[in-house]
Symmetry: C2
Subunit: 231 residues, 2 copies
DNA sequence: CGCGTTTTTGACCGATATCAAGTCTTGTGG
DNA sequence: CCACAAGACTTGATATCGGTCAAAAACGCG
């Protein structure tokens, strides 16, 4: 790996606090590569050889079953994906594909497990990351099981608005097709749900969204830290 | 804690490989108690003070939102619950209540985090357990998003039959009401789904279930290790 | 500009929820 | 041990949500 790459990886929260020697061992078999959009990085069911870390771009995590497909998460910089499969040396439960051109660091699973045993700071960082991923999926499951599709959409929009900050409008972070899949509905239904929200004062123009009255949307979504990352 | 309890806890996979001193430190503030059925052990939103471990009985993990409630998992001996919240020192995302009279060990979250840093074997056991929990929720989310309710029910029954072993019939492990909630449907709908499966050769009498032809159910559920714990 | 993809729209259908009884089961107190 | 009450389960009627199919419109990219 190039020296500039090493520096970049070293600066990530996951590796920042680990010792010099374990870090060097870990990086010996690691890669840091650019991929174009729409490249499949991982196929579910395959053995987990590498821990992946998105350092730039965006990666869709999805699963297939019987001709159906669903998006379970979108990984953005800087976060890992399929950490759990690597830790347990088990088959991936999700597939991954780049959504945009992306930069991905890959660390061999065996080295990861070795470093985990040698370096307590690294172990702590790993377990913190993993716990965060776990909580994120639990929120996703609660979202799907407890809210209707309209409520899920409203909650998603509120979340994006929070992330975007104080501006009066914001952009959807990815295609509506994928948003629909993430929210557990069909694209047609998302389209209709957006139209329903128009009556509640949500203005949608392509990918840009503007709220007339945030509180009305908030009343539908009833967001909270127990189901939504942002409140 | 009584000595017999200490022995029992020590024998669990989670604690088996850790050193004597860290284990003693960990147990200093720990409890091991019996609870009757239908006791709420944890309320979502509260700070995660204790790691819980079911050593006997069964615990329902559920979440509430806006008058709705859903069962996300059932913890059986020997497994932990709300590990992720303890690790991250964050609020619980799920509530927990005993389903039957149960025995629960409780370890203070702060001690847990301290032991994690001191003992690499314990750290490894914890992270393995956590990764397992993560994969289990991912399976649950896939199940909900990719399968219809009839398919989910069929998959659940196949799983139970596997667990039960070679006997020709098995018992549902808990009330249908809770099974319905776990499978993401109403009790009425579960009742109807069971009747639909009757036409596929599933005989149901109260809580006991018998398959006329497993392969027909298998054809509906199409179980696999990427969505079902057992295949 | 022209093609392929995404998004929208409409009509229709199926799956699932809701509401309302009614039946069965279970646990409790007499 | 029985009677009763509460809760669980089932059943039927009906409503709603969300999915499917088909086609048109909008968008993005070479």
């Amino acid at each position: 790996m190039r020296d500039a790459d090493l520096q970049e990886i070293r600066a990530l929260p996951l590796f920042r606090d680990m010792g010099e020697a374990p870090f060097a061992d870990l990086m010996r078999g690691a890669y840091h590569q650019n991929f174009p959009a729409q490249v499949t990085l991982i196929e579910e069911g395959r053995p987990a050889d590498f821990l992946h870390i998105v350092t730039d771009g965006a990666v869709e995590l999805f699963a297939r079953w019987s001709n159906r497909e669903t998006t379970l998460a979108v990984a953005r910089p800087v976060s890992t994906f399929i950490l759990a499969a690597c830790i347990n040396d088990a088959p991936y439960l999700m597939s991954a594909r780049t959504m945009t051109s992306s930069r991905i660091a890959m660390v061999p699973g065996a080295d990861l497990r070795a470093a985990f045993l040698k370096d307590a700071a690294f172990a702590q960082a790993i377990v913190g990351e993993l716990a965060g991923c776990y909580r994120s999926v639990v929120r996703h499951a609660k979202n799907i099981k407890l809210r209707s599709s309209k409520e899920r959409l409203a909650a998603f929009l509120i979340g994006e608005a929070e992330k975007a900050g104080q501006g009066s409008s914001f952009e959807l972070p990815f295609e509506k097709r994928i948003l629909a899949s993430y929210l557990g509905m069909t694209p047609e239904n998302l389209s209709r749900a957006l139209k329903q929200l128009k009556d509640e004062g949500v203005m949608v123009d392509g990918a840009t969204v503007r709220f007339h009255d945030v509180d009305r949307i908030r009343a539908i979504a009833m967001p909270g830290r127990l189901m939504d990352e942002c409140v």
